[in-house]
């Protein structure tokens, strides 16, 4: 069995680009479908990547999303260039958000983004600092 991971997506995400926001998730969904990944896993992945992608759009100065696949797992990496998350524990608390009123009026900033990511991911690792931005790595198991 090969554990070598193959990159299937790498896309830049621009800050405050609500026009394209969600497109990386949509692209990944289509790629996974073509690869024959079960629909339940495709759905999980779509929820995770949409939340992470919109976090970059709403909160960051811009970043990128990368997806890698092996026989056993799907790895999603979302890296942005700042400004970083001040309190990671708070960021994982349901209902906590630093989004502006304007963003909340659009139906974002409910404080459920990272909570949903954690719920559907099999593994999640978030590193964030003011200088180095936020780096999220999510693993979704493909093998049962």
């Amino acid at each position: 069995m090969s554990l070598q991971k193959q990159q299937i997506l790498n896309k830049e995400i621009d800050s405050f680009d609500f026009q394209s926001g969600g497109e990386a998730s949509s692209d990944l969904k289509n790629i996974l479908r073509k690869l024959g990944v079960p629909s339940k896993i495709v759905r999980k992945t779509a929820i995770i990547t949409y939340e992470l992608e919109m976090n970059v759009v709403i909160h960051s100065l811009g970043g990128e999303i990368t997806a890698l696949i092996s026989e056993d797992e799907l790895e999603i990496r979302v890296d942005d260039s700042g400004p970083g998350i001040e309190d990671l524990d708070k960021a994982f608390t349901a209902g906590f958000s630093t989004a502006s009123d304007e963003i909340r009026e659009m139906g974002f900033g409910a404080g459920m983004g990272l909570v949903n990511v954690k719920r559907y991911a099999d593994q999640i690792d978030v590193k964030s600092s003011k200088d180095a931005g936020t780096h999220v790595k999510v693993i979704i198991n493909l093998a049962n």
Binding site: M106, G107, N116
Partner: protein, 109 residues
């Protein structure tokens, strides 16, 4: 029931109708996008007051049959353009979500 049949039966306004033959399977009501992403299901109608472009991204990802903007809220122009490009149906009505949902329920949607 298809979106076209729904539009005719409930007198809904079609703002973007690139795929009105889509089959409807249930409905979801909500205005928080994270909840819609996590809870709505494929084929659902989505009743909401959000009419901006990212609504189209969510509808596409969840594979919803149509978005129904209630209480006479309006879609943003770029949302309508994106919906036409991506094949997402956008409908609207002056009714409240609750009233519309009740009439859907009575029709076994």
């Amino acid at each position: 029931m298809t979106v076209k049949e729904l539009v005719d039966q409930f007198d809904l306004e079609v703002i973007a109708g690139p795929d009105l033959q889509k089959e409807i399977d249930g409905a979801y009501i909500g205005d928080l996008l994270s909840n819609v992403m996590a809870r709505a299901e494929k084929g659902n109608l989505w009743l909401t007051v959000q009419g901006h472009q990212n609504v189209v991204a969510v509808a596409l990802l969840v594979e919803l049959s149509a978005v129904i903007l209630v209480e006479d809220f309006d879609y943003e122009e770029n949302a309508i353009q994106k919906a036409c490009q991506k094949g997402v149906n956008l409908l609207k009505t002056g009714k409240k979500s609750y009233d519309l949902a009740c009439s859907f329920y009575e029709s076994n949607i």
